[in-house]
């Protein structure tokens, strides 16, 4: 049971991470939120037609409403009366609310209730078994998610080049004959299928976390698209396993645990990523500022060395008054310049060393 649960969680996480990478790079993260809500309408309509929760018609209905969301938002944007974010915000609540009304009015006794829709029931998914001629084939969810994962991997491998081109440069993509619109809809079909599949397990809100957060985290860690896809998948897997363990310990919703964990991983990456983390960036910016200040300092000293105003202009005190630096900052700059042996201090007057003179001359050449 537990192993099955973990397998389902990993399948969902991996399947979500793949399309998520392209959504993040296309700056379309919000569309996954929209799709994950409006698919409810398709699922409900499918259920009302078939009276079965496992009919493929539910899937088809959900994918159609997913695409309808994208299409209607684009129609609104093209009217030029509504901006993109507002268009998405107008379309999906409309479709979702119709779905909610239908659920509450016509599907009273079934397991389709609003809690399950929003949060999912990961813990119960292994109970829903697939049987064939009386033999147990394992949880239905493992089969469904495996098929979806295979579809996602197929789309990724077949259309990696096309997805990359259309995401990076729509204009070139169109001029070379790779319709960006077609590619976008391939991606949107993929997002819709994945969302519907993952829906039972993690619900419509947390599926967004599993699509967007691993990709956004990987984006902070790499400069290579392939690595970004692989990292997203790894982050998804780690987050889902840790998340389930975490939810066991505190006895809470498993899907909630997964989403919290992926959020925590993002937070730490945001802080500590060696290439794009906030701490490294802050440090780099501060270093750049000091380096530039040192250049200003040596150029200033060169201007005034061996002139009448040398005594006046080349004092450390002067930097505070004329160049208008904060005392603490001026001290840091002078200290760094001394440490790099660019200047020496002779009775309170800063004298350029040979390297200092060279640096000043080079700086002025640019």
């Amino acid at each position: 049971m537990i192993v099955e649960l973990l397998i389902i969680a990993v399948l969902v996480a991996v399947a979500c991470a793949i399309p998520g990478v392209f959504l993040v790079l296309k700056k379309m993260s919000l569309i996954s939120d929209a799709i994950s809500h409006s698919v409810l309408l398709g699922i409900v309509v499918g259920f009302m037609l078939t009276h079965s929760l496992s009919s493929p018609l539910l899937f088809i209905g959900a994918v159609i409403t997913g695409l309808l969301t994208v299409f209607l938002s684009e129609v609104l944007v093209k009217s030029r009366l509504v901006k993109e974010d507002a268009a998405i915000g107008l379309v999906f609540p409309a479709l979702f609310s119709i779905g909610v009304i239908l659920v509450s009015r016509y599907t009273g006794n079934v397991h389709l209730d609003t809690d399950a829709v929003l949060l999912g029931e990961l813990i119960f998914t292994p109970l829903d078994r697939l049987t064939f001629m009386g033999r147990d084939l394992g949880p239905r969810m493992i089969w469904v998610m495996s098929i979806i994962l295979i579809i996602n991997l197929a789309v990724l491998f077949l259309f990696f080049k096309e997805l990359k081109l259309a995401t990076f440069d729509e204009g070139l993509s169109a001029s070379l004959g790779f319709s960006p619109i077609l590619i976008q809809y391939i991606l949107m079909i993929d997002v819709s299928i994945t969302t519907v599949g993952a829906f039972d397990a993690v619900g419509s809100i947390l599926v967004v976390a599993l699509m967007i957060v691993p990709a956004a985290t990987a984006y902070l860690l790499t400069d290579n698209l392939k690595t970004m896809v692989i990292l997203s998948i790894i982050i998804g897997i780690v987050a889902s396993l840790l998340g389930i363990a975490f939810s066991w310990i505190i006895d809470a919703s498993a899907a909630g645990g997964m989403a919290v964990m992926v959020g925590i991983i993002f937070f730490f990456t945001f802080l500590f990523s060696p290439s794009r983390g906030i701490i490294v960036l802050k440090k780099r910016r501060k270093n750049q500022k000091i380096e530039f200040a040192i250049k200003m300092l040596v150029v200033h000293l060169l201007h005034h060395s061996n002139t009448k105003s040398e005594l006046e202009e080349c004092r450390e005190q002067h930097l505070l008054e004329h160049i208008n630096w904060e005392p603490r900052f001026a001290k840091q700059v002078v200290q760094k310049a001394k440490k790099d042996e660019l200047v020496t201090d002779r009775e309170g007057i800063l004298i350029l060393s040979k390297t200092g003179i060279n640096m000043a001359q080079e700086s002025m050449l640019r």
Binding site: L25, K164, D169, G171, L172, S175, L176, N224, M228
Partner: protein
């Protein structure tokens, strides 16, 4: 239609709703010329290029490339979009971006192989970016970005190159490097069409010019149509800076 024209555009109108950006423009570009499209801001220069490529729908009119519709001769046309049209923070390298120029001849699903990679490296070398081949694109300067875009177009091995402001925001060295590559293309019989901003350099760089301001003001050999009168027609009163220097 005449196959001797590289591009033969007739009565092109492009409008957003009822606002025409390009109004009934005729344009014939002979094979093997290097042509500048000039005109004031908002004249519709970029729109015209995009219209020729079918990137935006024509409200009216017809475009023939080597006497055929663009879709049939796609592979003969290389496009260099404005540098600012893409997100340079995209996680990829110089080599990878240049390789994108080979996607057209690869078609759907097929991946670039050794042959394409060699082609890309040659193009990168040609624009003087070899040492940057594996550099992440977010670390490039504006001039380097433009060189990468040019290299990408070179891998298309096209007959016509359509370039949207190839000199915008680039340093003088890059501008010279780009122009010498473009002249080389022209000398090998290719047609180059570029949206251009700097009127001073038009006679040096180009031998053919189209002046545009929503309507086509004039077009033809630089010596014949790059006149004060035509410039004044295209730019209205905003042309004085040019006369200051030339007189």
């Amino acid at each position: 239609m005449d196959k001797n024209w590289a591009i033969d555009a007739e009565d092109i109108t492009i409008a957003y709703h009822d606002k025409p950006v390009i109004w009934d423009v005729d344009m014939q570009v002979p094979k093997g010329v290097m042509m500048a499209i000039i005109g004031p801001n908002g004249a519709g220069k970029s729109t015209l290029i995009k219209g020729l490529l079918g990137l935006i729908p024509l409200t009216a009119g017809d475009v023939k490339v080597f006497g055929e519709s663009y879709k049939k001769v796609r592979k003969k046309v290389g496009y260099v979009p404005q540098r600012t049209a893409v997100d340079w923070d995209f996680p990829t390298t110089v080599l990878d971006v240049v390789l994108m120029g080979t996607y057209g001849r690869l078609g759907w699903v097929k991946r670039p192989r050794k042959e394409e990679i060699i082609l890309a490296h040659e193009a990168i070398e040609k624009v003087g970016m070899s040492e940057f081949a594996n550099r992440q694109i977010s670390q490039l300067s504006g001039g380097q970005q433009q060189r990468v875009f040019l290299a990408r177009a070179l891998t298309q091995n096209a007959e016509i190159y359509l370039m949207d402001e190839p000199f915008q925001g680039v340093d003088a060295t890059t501008e010279r490097a780009i122009i010498s590559i473009l002249k080389e293309l022209k000398n090998s019989g290719k047609t180059v069409i570029a949206v251009h901003h700097d009127l001073q350099t038009v006679p040096d760089y180009f031998d053919w010019v189209t002046l545009l301001n929503v309507r086509r003001i004039a077009g033809g050999p630089v010596k014949e149509v790059f006149t004060k009168e035509n410039l004044r027609k295209a730019y209205g009163g905003r042309i004085s800076f040019l006369e200051d220097k030339s007189e």
